[in-house]
């Protein structure tokens, strides 16, 4: 943040377009799979052929309701689809079926954690609508190619209140929202493929002013980092404009990830008059209290509730609980490890967070593709708990498991890593070390306590690390004392 936040206040509202994870389009039975050959998923309804008619996808409606329940919103028991008109080649009918006056979800909120505190961001509304197709500019010099596969994919457009006051808050809100829709299973959250897209409305005003400044809308910023950069750029640009005596123009802008700048989209500046009116091909959608309760019963435990439960049930620090509940699959993995390992919950958390996530990160894999199953990690932790191996040896076993050498017991056996608990064997190792290092023994006995670590290291080395550390420490102390 390089602007003077004592002078300037930033006001941000976000509009998030979230593709719903349905098999078919919102108003027709064409598939919605990503990456199909151009226009092979554009059926008659998607193409807007004459005479064809829309019929609403039940799952799309249920997903919107699910989202609404998750953000503690009102679910409209009667909502209406409206047509939004504009001409664009990726919009086949000349109108987008959306919701205008009566959206399915309204008056919700999402709590974000920022600067160690919690801030509530209002969600004005979330409405159902159809996605547009794609315009492809590459490969043609004077023409544009139109692929309508994406057209008609169900979306919810989630509109926040202008409650966000910084780029960091915007990113925190987006991440929280992203986590939520993925948790709910209503969106795959894939930002590269455009499943979760954000438009940012940004304005600035001098502190103390009660009226909002003129806002700009920056379109389709498709990663959390870009959102942050685009908003920061926009804040500084607007402040510059005002400070140099100019006025911010209300307009649509496009973020360029290469330059980190936003620029005006002149093509969208054609004074829009969308001529909304209720779509006469569709009837009012009625959602009864019974429907809502039926959908509520299918809701998974949400991230915030899960995090709180992890803190209470497993005694984890908030940070660990937050990391482990960041993704549904990770939380499930962790709970499976705790349940089967007999290990301490915090030890399990350390293994999952530090070792497993660290390794997955290096491999570029996510938890669902982990080469070590929860059962195997639990098996490893169980061997530490029953003192078959030390924590140090366990790291070696973990590496072997990662390399696909089998479960913990197989590896421990194959590599002969079982911990030495036979005290006579440990004593023998200690005596050998002392015999080889008479000077150090003398120094230790003369008061150089720090040399204790040296003897631990040497004795461990002599037992290939297999000595039980507690026994080794105790016996070493006895022997050195003379």
């Amino acid at each position: 943040m390089s602007y003077d936040s004592k002078t300037w206040e930033v006001v941000i509202g976000l509009e998030v377009h979230c593709q719903l994870l349905t098999q078919t389009k919102i108003f027709s039975g064409a598939a919605t799979a990503y990456g199909a050959a151009p226009n092979t998923q554009a059926d008659a309804v998607t193409l807007g052929l004459p005479g064809v008619l829309p019929v609403l996808n039940k799952t799309a409606l249920e997903y919107a309701v699910k989202f609404g329940l998750a953000v503690d919103a009102q679910i409209a028991q009667r909502c209406v689809f409206a047509r939004k008109h504009y001409f664009y080649p990726d919009l086949p009918k000349g109108y987008q079926i959306s919701q205008y006056e009566l959206p399915i979800v309204h008056h919700g909120h999402l709590d974000i954690e920022i600067d160690g505190g919690v801030k509530r961001i209002g969600i004005t509304r979330a409405h159902l609508e159809e996605d547009a197709g794609k315009s492809l500019h590459e490969g043609y010099s004077k023409q544009t190619g139109i692929d309508l596969n994406r057209a008609g994919t169900p979306l919810i457009e989630i509109v926040s209140e202008p409650d966000i006051r910084s780029a960091a808050e915007a990113v925190a809100y987006l991440k929280k929202l992203h986590q939520l829709v993925v948790y709910l299973g209503v969106c795959d959250g894939n930002m590269q493929e455009g499943s979760f897209r954000c438009d940012a409305n940004v304005s600035v005003r001098r502190r103390g002013e009660t009226k909002f400044g003129t806002r700009t809308e920056t379109k389709n910023v498709n990663s959390f980092r870009y959102v942050e950069k685009a908003i920061e750029f926009e804040i500084e640009r607007q402040i510059d404009v005002i400070e140099s005596g100019g006025k911010v123009v209300q307009e649509t802008r496009l973020f360029n990830p290469d330059s980190g700048e936003t620029r005006s989209m002149r093509s969208k500046e054609d004074a829009n008059d969308y001529r909304y009116f209720p779509d006469p091909d569709l009837l009012p959608v009625v959602v009864t209290t019974a429907d809502i309760e039926r959908i509520r019963a299918t809701m998974p435990e949400l991230p915030q509730a899960k995090k709180e439960r992890f803190i209470a049930q497993y005694g984890l620090p908030a940070y660990d609980a937050g990391v482990l509940t960041g993704e549904q699959a990770l939380a499930e993995y962790y709970e499976a490890v705790v349940a089967t390992s007999n290990g301490d919950a915090k030890t399990c958390a350390n293994w999952v967070i530090t070792d497993l996530l660290g390794a997955l990160n290096k491999l570029g894999k996510d938890i669902s593709a982990s080469p070590i199953s929860a059962a195997r990690l639990a098996g490893l932790i169980a061997r530490i708990a029953d003192k078959t191996i030390s924590g140090k040896i366990a790291k070696e076993v973990f590496e072997a498991m990662l390399a696909g050498e089998g479960d913990a017991d197989t590896i421990i056996k194959a590599k002969g890593l079982v911990q030495i608990t036979d005290e006579s064997a440990i004593v023998k190792a200690i005596e050998d070390v002392m015999a080889k290092n008479p000077q150090q023994v003398a120094d230790y006995r003369g008061g150089k306590d720090k040399l204790f670590g040296f003897f631990v290291g040497q004795a461990m080395k002599a037992t290939q690390g297999k000595a039980n550390p507690d026994a080794l420490n105790r016996l070493l102390k006895e022997k050195l004392a003379g």
């Binding site: 052929l49 004459p50 005479g51 064809v52 019929v55 047509r83 109108y95 001529r275």
Partner: protein, 485 residues
């Protein structure tokens, strides 16, 4: 053969007096001989018709098939037909070969086994009351070829009235079945909104459009309407409710039937000749035992302005898809995208369609929505409530279909408001969504006059019963224009 009723034709086919191929060939020959004078067909599908006729004959030979199997039918060119140009009488769709069938097309041809003779002329995108706005030129009225057949289903009615098809499908957004039926001595019925699927019927105004049929009698209309009605999962506005048996009740007595005469329909506007014929028809109904009383539909005079907001608004939206990108007319040598849109649409749509698109765009645009669109929706509610009150008192509402007999070709074609007022009696039924029909009640100077019956929701059987009973004691509907006998 072309003077026989559908029941007679069906019996003839079943008794092997003639084959469907012979019957179809007969109609195709008549089309060839007579349609140059009328221009009632845009496309004649002779080869396909004969193939369908052969298939029907094969079914009939095996003792299969229903009442309509092998009976020819003409389709209004607003219904999509696979592999056959579906133009909606517009240059915009001159090149449009539909890749699918409208639901009613599959019901009538695939299921019921009717034979499609071709696609009938109409006002462009069904916008008009005279069939003069067609890109393929006007259709003439067989009763006087210097006059219009009405519209928008002018091709359908001209073909049936001249014996170039036993019956034809049609569509009605503000009177497009009833007014042309009235002007050509036919029986035409627009069922309850949602009773017949709109899937594959090119949309004009979605909340008003309803498909129906024009035929030479109530009985013929009942046969065809029966086969085209029913729930369609592909149309969200289609009604999930069993279809009444429209034929079973035709012969029932109408003694005690309560008929309402709306004061507003008889107040002014009708020509003296039409008034006379309608008055005579009322007497016939009385003789049949009906009880006639005066009722009021106080908001009906506002149905025309209400309609000319709602229909153009929906049309401007429905016709936005015709942009020259995926199908239809595309302007050549355009410099940019905006020019592609503007020239494709400027060249592809005729004047009446352009007028309605502009009216619709205007009334929906920023700052005018409440004054026009919302106000029209409120008026629509008041018009609906008028009917609700009326049907608490009476079973049917009776009045004229049109103010006068058929007018001359060209007489009103450059005066949109005069043309719009043609629909003054028919529009209210579309706004309310109730079923309504027109049947012939005589002639003025040799030109047919239509009588309109309107009923409560889902009262198609009752309407057809009343019309059939009337046709049992009158013979206007049996008369054919002399030049086409």
């Amino acid at each position: 053969m072309h003077t026989q009723s559908i029941a007679e034709l069906s019996a003839g086919l079943k008794a092997k007096k003639f084959s469907s191929r012979e019957l179809t060939a007969h109609y195709l020959k008549r089309i060839e001989s007579f349609d140059k004078q009328l221009n009632s067909y845009i496309t004649v599908t002779a080869e396909q018709a004969l193939a369908q006729a052969d298939a029907a004959d094969a079914r009939l030979a095996q003792g299969q098939g229903g009442a309509l199997t092998g009976i020819p039918l003409a389709q209004k060119d607003i219904f999509c037909t696979t592999g056959v140009r579906t133009s909606c009488a517009s240059k915009m769709l001159d090149s449009f070969i539909a890749p699918y069938d409208a639901t009613i097309v599959s019901k009538l041809h695939d299921e019921a086994g009717m034979v499609m003779l071709g696609k009938c002329n109409m006002d462009e995108f069904a916008m008009g009351s005279s069939t003069e706005t067609s890109w393929y030129g006007p259709t003439a009225n067989p009763w006087d070829v210097t006059r219009v057949p009405g519209g928008s289903s002018g091709g359908s009615v001209a073909a049936v009235a001249a014996g170039l098809a036993p019956a034809a499908t049609a569509s009605d957004t503000g009177g497009s079945i009833r007014q042309p039926a009235a002007l050509t001595n036919l029986t035409g019925i627009k069922p309850t909104y949602g009773r017949v699927s709109r899937y594959g019927m090119i949309a004009f105004a979605s909340s008003l459009d309803q498909a129906g049929v024009v035929a030479r009698s109530a009985e013929d209309a009942a046969y065809v309407l029966q086969a085209m009605s029913g729930f369609d999962p592909r149309d969200s506005t289609s009604i999930e409710r069993p279809v009444d048996d429209l034929l079973a009740g035709l012969n029932g007595s109408i003694k005690g039937l309560k008929i309402g005469l709306p004061t507003e329909y008889f107040a002014k506007g009708m020509s003296a000749g039409v008034q006379q014929r309608v008055a005579e028809a009322i007497e016939v109904f009385k003789k049949l035992g009906a009880e006639v009383k005066e009722i009021s539909l106080p908001n009906s005079p506002l149905s025309v302005p209400t309609y000319y907001v709602v229909a153009p608004a929906e049309a401007s939206s429905n016709l936005a898809r015709f942009d020259g990108v995926r199908y239809g007319h595309r302007a050549q040598d355009v410099k940019n995208l905006e020019e592609l849109y503007k020239r494709s649409r400027g060249e592809g749509f005729g004047a009446e369609v352009q007028r309605r698109i502009m009216i619709g765009t205007y009334v929906l645009s920023h700052g005018y929505y409440d004054a026009y669109y919302l106000q029209a929706q409120k008026l629509r509610k008041l018009i609906y409530e008028d009917f609700k009150r009326a049907f608490a008192e009476v079973d049917l509402v009776l009045g004229p279909t049109a103010t006068d007999v058929a007018f001359k070709l060209g007489e009103k074609s450059d005066d949109p408001v005069a043309m719009y007022l043609n629909d003054i009696y028919t529009i209210a039924a579309n706004l309310a969504g109730i079923p309504a029909m027109s049947l012939s009640c005589g002639f003025v100077d040799g030109l047919p006059v239509g009588l309109q019956l309107m009923g409560n929701y889902f009262s198609e059987a009752r309407l057809l019963n009343a019309a059939h009973q009337y046709q049992q004691v009158t013979d206007f509907h049996k008369q054919m224009p002399k030049a086409f006998v």
